[in-house]
Symmetry: C2
Amino acid sequence: MPSIAIDMDETIADPITKARSWYYRDYGTIFSEDQLRGKSLSEAVPPEHKGIIHQYLNTPGFFRDLPVYPDAQRVIAELNKKYKVYIVSAAMEFPNSLMDKISWLQDNFPFLTWRQYCLCGDKSLVQTDYMIDDLIRNFQFFKGKPLLFTGPHNIHIEGYDRILNWEDAAARLL
Amino acid sequence: MPSIAIDMDETIADPITKARSWYYRDYGTIFSEDQLRGKSLSEAVPPEHKGIIHQYLNTPGFFRDLPVYPDAQRVIAELNKKYKVYIVSAAMEFPNSLMDKISWLQDNFPFLTWRQYCLCGDKSLVQTDYMIDDLIRNFQFFKGKPLLFTGPHNIHIEGYDRILNWEDAAARLL
């Protein structure tokens, strides 16, 4: 059975909507889709506010109730029958997110077990047959087949096979 | 730079001494070295007490202040100069251990960073050049060089290269 490592943030979970709304609450400005094109949220805010985004992401509860990406549950339930599925999140930078991420997975992907979770600092030790991720830095040492999950921040990157959304993942992998 | 995945429990951290003393506190019996030979702690207790050991390990704080194995700090600090070191713990079965394990690593291995931590359910997705672990089940899908860290529970297992202690690891790997 081939194995597949699936990322969390901006692949199955949406932290951007919440971070934008918290930033609006605190600073009265909202990011347009345009400002986020080709950039991470930390890169889109003024340099002096970079630490604010970091603070948001390390706030207990931030990751607890994020929206799930459309079709992710249905498609990953199907993938789980044909692949060894792992959910791999480079979450260690935000230790307060770890328990929230586990609870979120238990709530939203109840067909996966704790054996399939991996919370790490750096994905360079993860080797599976496929990796679905929105950040190409996670592919740097990856020997399997990388699949770049499309988002506004990676729209300009070339040279990778892409997955456009979970419907597309189903068409590619099922 | 070659990479090396190093286990936590019964490799760099000792959870057995504490589990034994808690069991003594609760049931008035202490395990002899002999009873633990060739067995995990869960296997050494009467079957009806298996759940008790699980409860101990999932108690917040249990992993927070475990003793460090002799020479582990000094030798891993040296390994960290010559290898990409990762600390990999299949800790996901005990979600309450996760924060304790991170704090313990920060306290006892301050020369490692969060980028080097990996807390997972199953080590089958971890591929490094070497893996030091006391449980052969973690080598099942491992393609690098496994090094079995000797402990009373694995004393009867044959067919693996062993590391007897951290002094021996230094001799083998440095």
